[in-house]
Amino acid sequence: MKDEAFYRWIIFLKKIRFGWLAPFFLLLKGESPRDQLKAIFHGVALPLISVLVFFWLWDLTSRQIVTKFGTVPGPKQVWSAWKGLGNEKRLENIKEKEHAHRVRQKRLKSMDRYASVLEDFPGEIESGLTSPAVEAAMNQATELFERANELMQIYNRVSVAASLDEAKSTAEGLQFAESKELAGNIIAKVVPMEIAYRNHEEAYRADPKWNTLPGDTDAESNAKMDLNRSESRILAAEKVALLIERQKMTTQSTLKAFSLISSLPKGMRDHLASSDRAAATMYVPLKQWYEKVLAEEATGGAKYKNKVKLKMLLKAFENKVYTGKDTYVSQIYTSLTTVFFGFIIASVIAIPLGLLCGLNEGINNAMNPIIQIFKPVSPLAWLPIVMIVVGAVYVSDDPMFEISFLNSAITVALCSLWPTLVNTALGVSTTNKDYLNVALVLKLGWFKKITKIIIPAAMPLIFTGLRLSLGVGWMVLIAAEMLAQNPGLGKFVWDMFQNGSSETLSMIMVAVFTIGIIGFMLDTIMLSLQEFVSFE
């Protein structure tokens, strides 16, 4: 069935809006070439010709108009402006690399010059282990270790005890409440084992593999297992404690090693200088030390003689991320994220609300005036309100989103809400009577009726609404970004306009084409999605 797969491919192409490619495939297959050529002429050649004619007319007319920025740019100038934007991105990359290089050189230099201070590094700073999580882990491990020790002591006493009574009194003699409980547990478990031990004393001596000894009852073997388990816990706790000790020592010794930095191998030095993470591991203990020095000075203690050196070293290891200016690509990316964020907010509100309106005529009538009044409001009217409200409500020291991003996204949401809302309501309220009759005859419940009948039936219209919403959102976004100064395409256009250079018009036209092409792509994507949910 190769043919079937081929035609499925053709149908798929049409569904994803690449139907203009289909005649080429059909032509390759040799299917009625006349029809295919005609389709190619209509689907590819004609649009191409019209675009070329447009460019030609544009080129012709643009030279005639002279503005304060020079003549209106033709296609060639716009193209070179576009290439210039590509170069800008490359330039930024080079700048970032240069920045990294500079930082590295500076660190290496500081290390050579000031590393001798590290010989004075105070031993009591347990650096690298200061985060709350590490502290909690350490405390837990220490506690475990102590408990394990206690357990060990009890175990030793019990196992050494010659008689049952002695074991009990040892345990009961313990002072701590918790230990008492522990001791009780141990006694309850160890006592049967003790008896067993005594009963098989000779056998133990003969055979060390007492686990497989005949005559062990279940209780005895359980007790042994428990004892084994507690032994292994003690061992684990000891291991943790050891690890902690070792880590403490490592940090100290690392810093000691750094004091001999000039004698370090070149690779290690380079790594320390160029990797931000490696630099951070140096920075944390140095900072603590520096703060300690400052604190001592404040309380009237002795002044540290190499304070300036230490400060310089500390500065060299500060985290220095490159924050260059936004490139055109990053501005496109910001615009896309903003529009999608706004679009998602709008959909999350509009679809359920539309569902409610479509299901209930009363709600629909109640909502209608609100929808009709707010639907035609321009984004330029919403934006100041959004800016003021967001500015008042969204106050945070460490905001998750930039305020300007939120302003634009919420404005987009407010404007793109309506098509989805209206279309969803329409789709739901015009559900075919026959489908509802099916629901009635089958006695579908309320929820099933909505999920199995009404929503699927309204799906094509819901998607029409979503497509319109995304289109509106994209259109509104540019205006919103211009005013909210969200670093996207709108701001790019505005900045270019304010720039007033000879390239201004070309740059803005590049932005116009970018906006148009992205809008077209978004629409195409939504159309093909719509194609997949429709059932006609």
Binding site: D434, N437, V441, L442, K443, P456, A457, F535, E536
Partner: protein, 307 residues
């Protein structure tokens, strides 16, 4: 006699005041278990209203619709309905359309049992190769088979068929009629078939009941069809008993409504003294006048008067 569905003095009208239209009046009907009843009537006579009343989609304006003595207040899967326009859910394929009904009606069954059940009914209507297809990919006849399979899979106590073959071409129609006859003979379900095709009613049903022309339609006397089954369309067309039955139904349907009185007014019209030109005759300049013949014809005009 234990009847499954009973209609007692059922009337139905739409609208109020001067916009009121009476659709059905004084309907009395008794349908026994296992019976195949065909209700035959004109388009627009209120057949769909009648079946909707039985299905529970509509409530009667007066009178009672009963199922085993209990009044019907809402639709129920025990009265499965097959619509003229199929009412399949276009976003589901054949299997899912049927399984939606089966899952809803038999929630207690195991998945395996439901699967076998659906498979059985799909095979019964010969749709096994089209299981994965959506309604838009099926022909009208195939769609109606799916609708039939869905209704049958609900295992209803009565199957209501509302002009199920009305939208099909004559050949598909004949095929499906045979199929319905075969399926009924296998299941022996109670069936109420609404149709505007007298032949179809007689071919399929045990009993044919004509519905008079609306507004205010009512049921005529039921006509028992005692033809032996299986009935063969070809031989039936020459069968005297069949012809007689058909004549009776048609006579009743064609007969003027009992509530209407007709008067015949005789009137003589004298048609104008003109004959059209004979274009075949050889043309002469004088022929138009000299050859004309005077026509006098008697025309009767009939007038219906409603009292």
């Amino acid at each position: 006699m234990d009847s499954l569905i009973t209609l007692k003095n059922v009337s139905k009208h739409y609208g109020q005041g001067h916009q009121r239209t009476d659709v059905l009046q004084e309907i009395n009907l008794d349908i026994r278990e296992g019976e195949f009843v065909a209700i035959v009537g004109y388009s627009g006579a209120g057949k769909t209203t009648l079946i909707s009343l039985i299905a529970g989609l509509l409530k009667p304006s007066s009178g009672q619709v009963l199922q085993k003595g209990d009044p019907i207040t809402e639709p129920d899967p025990s009265r499965a309905l097959v619509f003229q326009n199929y009412s399949l859910l276009p976003w589901l394929n054949v299997w899912d359309n049927i399984s939606l009904a089966v899952n809803q009606v038999f929630p207690a069954w195991t998945n395996q049992k439901r699967k076998e059940h659906i498979q059985r009914y799909i095979e019964m209507v010969n749709l096994a190769p089209a299981i994965q297809k959506r309604p838009s990919e099926l022909s009208g006849g195939m769609r109606q088979r799916v609708a039939l399979a869905r209704a049958l899979a609900m295992d209803p106590s009565v199957l209501l068929l509302d002009e199920p073959l009305g939208a099909l071409d004559a050949l598909t129609r004949a095929n499906l009629q045979e199929e319905i006859a075969r399926i009924w003979s296998e299941n022996k379900k109670t069936v109420i078939l609404i149709t505007n095709d007298v032949d179809e009613g007689i071919l399929l049903a045990d009993r044919v009941i004509p519905l008079t022309r609306g507004p205010g339609a009512t049921l005529g006397p039921s006509i028992q069809v005692n033809l032996a089954r299986p009935r063969n369309r070809k031989t039936l067309n020459h069968d005297e008993a069949f012809k007689l039955l058909r004549q009776r139904v048609i006579d009743f349907l064609m007969k003027k409504s009992h509530s209407k009185h007709t008067a015949t007014i005789r009137k003589t019209f004298v048609l104008p003294n003109i004959l059209p030109d004979d274009l075949d005759a050889p043309r002469t300049f004088q022929s138009g006048k000299s050859n004309s013949v005077r026509r006098e014809e008697l025309k009767h005009e009939r007038l219906e008067v409603e009292i």
